[in-house]
Symmetry: C2
Subunit: 108 residues, 2 copies
DNA sequence: TATATGCGCAACTAATTGGTTTCACAAATT
DNA sequence: AATTTGTGAAACCAATTAGTTGCGCATATA
């Protein structure tokens, strides 16, 4: 089974869970109450997120609090870098076009 | 079937295809030659990427050139914004700690 | 005109997914 | 001590996935 950050964020329910536990630690029950899913379904997603190694858990009595390991999100950011380079290149090209137009105007 | 950008980048083969056609337009055959996959497998991935609406195609005779619609990648970037806010907050908190330490030093 | 090439697509397969129902167990509450 | 609550996990299911093989069709080449 593929267990990486891209697999983790592929499912919309999982993305919602990620968004919630990014801000505060939460129990599976509390997460399930936040949107239309059963506790068990949330539990399964949390298991997958754990296997993807992007959540931390802390036991308090019989409750287990899950939080997102936010730093792990940077891996996606890093993958996006390759496009950012192109975005910037295009921007620079647009910049070139603009300065050319400016020069042509000045030369008149 | 879920057909969004997150589904598009969930598969590693698809991520490789995305990376290749981000830089230059390519035919399915040419893409397949670049890594260990059959032409048909690539074709199926291109179909999914098309359904996810992140590729453009241009027919030239019997060849079809596929390119990435790079702008669509920004959707991922936008989703990451929520974490970027937290990253920055943490950075600012670290900043606060540092300036406090500095002040304490000065007070001695 | 006959053959080779590039492609999409349908049919099939094994594996994976996302969900449910049911259970067991530990911790809290009565 | 009995009951309720919070949880993980197993068994099951329908749907989806990622790949293969084989086909048909249009375009290029001989």
């Amino acid at each position: 089974m593929r267990r990486d950050i891209f697999q983790a964020i592929a499912d919309p329910t999982r993305r919602a869970i990620i968004t919630i536990i990014a801000l505060q630690a939460m129990t599976p029950n509390a997460i399930a109450e936040n949107f239309n899913t059963s506790r068990q379904a949330v539990s399964k997603h949390l298991r997958i997120l754990t296997e993807c190694d992007i959540v931390k858990q802390e036991q308090q009595g019989r409750e287990i609090y899950y939080t997102l390991d936010i730093e792990k999100m940077k891996e996606i950011d890093i993958w996006l870098d390759q496009f950012r380079q192109i975005w910037e290149t295009r921007f620079n090209q647009l910049d070139d076009v603009l300065s050319k137009l400016k020069n042509e105007k000045n030369e008149k």
